[in-house]
């Protein structure tokens, strides 16, 4: 799979402050790429560089293999976190204007807007002013404007903020559909559950440096610690616990069950396979729960950030 976007050693300084320090990322074509990081890490600066709003002091950006140029503006759709629309302008006019700025002809823009407005059932908003709409409604218009010119690369900064759960779902489905239609999506958010759900690749930026990047599954594999959550029904909890503690490193676990169980988290050495543990357990107790502990993106995020403090 080739990369749609490559940022190579981008560095950006504002006076004495380094906003981005030698950051490289590669976003594969057709992926949903999670760009994560605490507040002020440099995500927005990186996104602005990709959008050609700011120029990097050093490094280069390649889109589809070619250095980024003004003509690429039409290939990128950007939904910034700080977003808004002209309050006193009518919805339709405004959408047309923004679409034309992205290089669409007026006719084309109108056709596509009609399609999207019908799809979202918001056609009757055309002649309303933005100030008459609620925040969520305005967000919908904004989403349409972002994707209208069918860009190859879509950058969403906190796309779900301001949406109720139903509309957030509508937007999520649209994002997935856009991906299926061939768009590549960069996704910047603090909501880890949506990263978990949507992203197949991710990068973590912390204090102007990239500290982690890769496929989400690869990262999880790298961060898992060969630990298993186990639920046992035994005749004598203490004996079993004692014997387990002799062989493995065991800590008590906590999960919800309907009957009384011995709940444990058991970590294995690298050379010990899960089958060994399982066969030992089955011979000593009734196993009602056995699953590998896979770190959540949230845990990876928090752990990596704390490790790098």
């Amino acid at each position: 799979m080739s990369n749609l976007l490559e940022v190579r050693s981008a560095t950006k300084k504002f006076g004495d402050f380094t906003a981005l320090n030698n950051v490289s990322i590669a976003v594969p074509k057709g992926s949903i790429f999670g760009l994560l990081g605490p507040n002020g890490a440099g995500k927005t600066t990186l996104i602005r560089i990709v959008n050609q709003i700011t120029l990097p002091d050093a490094g280069e950006v390649l889109l589809d293999g070619a250095p980024l140029e003004p003509i690429h503006i039409k290939d990128i759709g950007y939904l910034p976190e700080e977003r808004g629309l002209y309050k006193s302008m009518k919805v339709g006019e405004q959408a047309l204007y923004l679409a034309q700025l992205k290089g669409l002809s007026k006719k084309e823009a109108k056709e596509r807007l009609t399609y999207w407005f019908d799809k979202f059932d918001i056609s009757h908003w055309w002649n309303k002013k933005i100030q008459e709409l609620s925040k969520g409604m305005a967000q919908k218009v904004q989403f349409v404007v972002t994707v209208l010119h069918r860009p190859k690369l879509l950058i969403f900064d906190e796309p779900f903020s301001g949406f109720d759960p139903i509309n957030a779902n509508v937007i999520k489905d649209e994002i997935l559909q856009l991906r299926d239609e061939g768009a590549t999506i960069i996704f910047s958010t603090h909501r880890m559950e949506s990263v978990e759900e949507l992203c197949d690749h991710m990068a973590l930026i912390h204090k102007s440096n990239k500290i982690l990047e890769g496929k989400v599954t690869d990262i999880k594999r790298a961060y898992k610690s060969n630990t298993f959550e186990v639920g046992l029904i035994t005749e004598d909890n203490n004996t079993i616990l004692q014997s387990l503690q002799d062989k493995f490193s065991v800590v008590p676990a906590d999960f919800k069950t309907i009957d009384d169980q011995l709940k444990l988290k058991i970590s294995l050495d690298k050379n010990v396979s899960s089958n060994e543990l399982l066969s030992y357990l089955t011979s000593n107790a009734q196993v009602v729960r056995f699953n590998e502990v896979i770190p959540s993106v949230n845990e990876i995020f928090i752990n990596t950030i704390t490790d790098n403090e």
Binding site: F14, G15, R48, N51, Q52, I53, T54, P70, I73, I76, Y78, L79, P80, E82, R83, G84, L85, Y86, K87, S88, M89, Y97, L98, Q100, L101, K102, K106, Q142, V145
Partner: protein, 432 residues
């Protein structure tokens, strides 16, 4: 459509759809006419009817000259004593009491005339009283000397000096004033335009910042394009407004002409004052003078200075708008705009009027921020070509520099929120 044109068009439409703009455009002229009417009405209210002046003429030979007029009404108190007359003047709340005592000769009498009034009397009233008495006395003196009054009146010469330049063209005495009026109007117009439309540019920039739409826009267009589109679009709205006003004015003049038979008067000249004491020949000369002004040159340079000056200031306004979060924060940066504008207008009205080619006038017509105003005021008086070339050269140079400079500030400023920047901070942005 190119992006610049799109932005210009949007700005233009946004400006002219604005309610304030529509009000200003259509009610502005009515408002101006209304203000003039109001002021003249207030002035007429201020002078509360004819002044009532009582007089005691013990000589009995002057009162015939005191004819009632619209301003002054005379009341003969000669039958009363001085004390009675004073009391009566006070109780009746008259303007004052003129007392001409009887002395050995009229000459002595006139030297001891008194005017009693509670408040210091109007200078013009006293003047007119003195003149009336003096006229009467003069005629009496002529008669006493046995002179023929009619012959003397015939012999009094009235002189009006005709001004003529060395190439033999006749000019009116008001030429200097006409030139000043034309130049002054042009300079003043430029200042008003800069303040009104510069502010619109600034508000439009701030609006995009507070609406948070700016990041979406500049992911599609270059900040410089956005800034120039704003300035251009807004200026077209301004030009449209001017055109509407001119049509309005012409319409009013034509209507006035049809209904009241008032002849159109040269604009920009307060003709009522000029016409009061001039004869038809003078008016002819006046019109000739206006036509003789280098009108073509004037119009061309008006546009050059107008456009350059407006752009120069608008760029600064745009940069200020980008640097601040709200209009209230913009106050601290207003000084660099208002100071040169005010300076230009004051230098224009004082130094240029006094000596259009003096050192101060020439200097300020070279300095870029004041040159549009001051040079526009000087041009009717004839400015050497080299001065115009230097002035325009400096202006265009600094215009380019200012647009570049403002573009830098703009580019950074539009993405900065929450901070109230200082001048020092703005300088730092240049390096980003």
């Amino acid at each position: 459509m190119s992006k610049l044109r799109l932005i210009m068009y949007r700005e233009f439409i946004a400006r002219i759809r604005n309610k304030t703009f529509i009000m200003m455009t259509f009610l502005g002229p009515l408002f101006a006419v209304g203000m003039i009417a109001l002021i003249s009405w207030l002035t007429s209210v201020n002078s509360d009817g004819p002044k009532q002046i009582a007089f005691i003429d013990e000589t009995g030979s002057f009162f015939l000259n005191f004819r009632n007029s619209e301003e002054v009404k005379y009341i003969n108190y000669t039958d009363l004593t001085l004390e009675e007359a004073k009391d009566s003047t006070l109780t009746k709340n008259l303007y004052g009491l003129l007392y001409i005592p009887k002395k050995a000769s009229h000459k002595e009498s006139t030297e001891s005339i008194q005017f009693y009034a509670e408040e210091a009397p109007d200078f013009s009233v006293l003047n007119s009283l003195e003149k009336r008495i003096a006229d009467k006395l003069t005629v009496q003196n002529y008669k006493k000397q046995g002179l023929d009054v009619a012959a003397i009146e015939d012999a009094i010469a009235e002189v009006r000096i005709q001004v003529e330049n060395f190439s033999g063209e006749k000019t009116s005495k008001y030429q200097h004033l006409i030139k000043m009026a034309f130049g002054g109007a042009a300079g003043y117009l430029l200042m008003m335009f800069v303040i009104i439309y510069g502010n619109m540019v600034m508000r439009s920039v701030i609006e995009e910042k507070t609406n948070r739409i700016i990041e979406i826009i500049i992911s599609s267009v270059k900040p410089m394009e956005l800034m120039m589109g704003k300035i251009l679009g807004t200026s077209f709205a301004g030009i449209l407004q001017f055109i509407i006003w001119v049509i309005f004015g012409l319409g009013l003049l034509i209507t006035a002409n049809v209904f009241f038979g008032i002849t159109p008067e040269p604009s920009g000249v307060d003709s009522s004052i000029l016409l009061q004491e001039s004869n038809p020949q003078e008016i002819q000369l006046l019109v000739q003078d206006i036509l003789k002004l280098p009108l073509g040159t004037l119009v061309i340079f008006f546009f050059i200075y107008f456009i350059c000056g407006y752009f120069l200031y608008s760029a600064i306004y745009a940069a200020i708008g980008a640097a601040v979060d709200s209009e209230t924060d913009s106050q601290q940066f207003m000084l660099p705009i208002l100071l040169p504008l005010m300076l230009g207008v004051y230098v224009g009205f004082f130094s240029v009027l006094e000596d259009p080619h003096g050192v101060v006038a020439v200097t300020f017509s070279m300095i870029p921020l004041t040159s549009p105003i001051v040079m526009l005021m000087r041009i009717p008086f004839g400015v050497p070509w080299w001065q115009i070339i230097v002035s325009i050269g400096l202006l265009v140079g600094s215009l380019i520099f200012m647009v570049w400079f403002a573009g830098k500030i703009y580019r950074i400023g539009i993405l900065m929120y929450g901070k109230k920047p200082s001048y020092k901070e703005l300088l730092k942005w240049l390096k980003y």
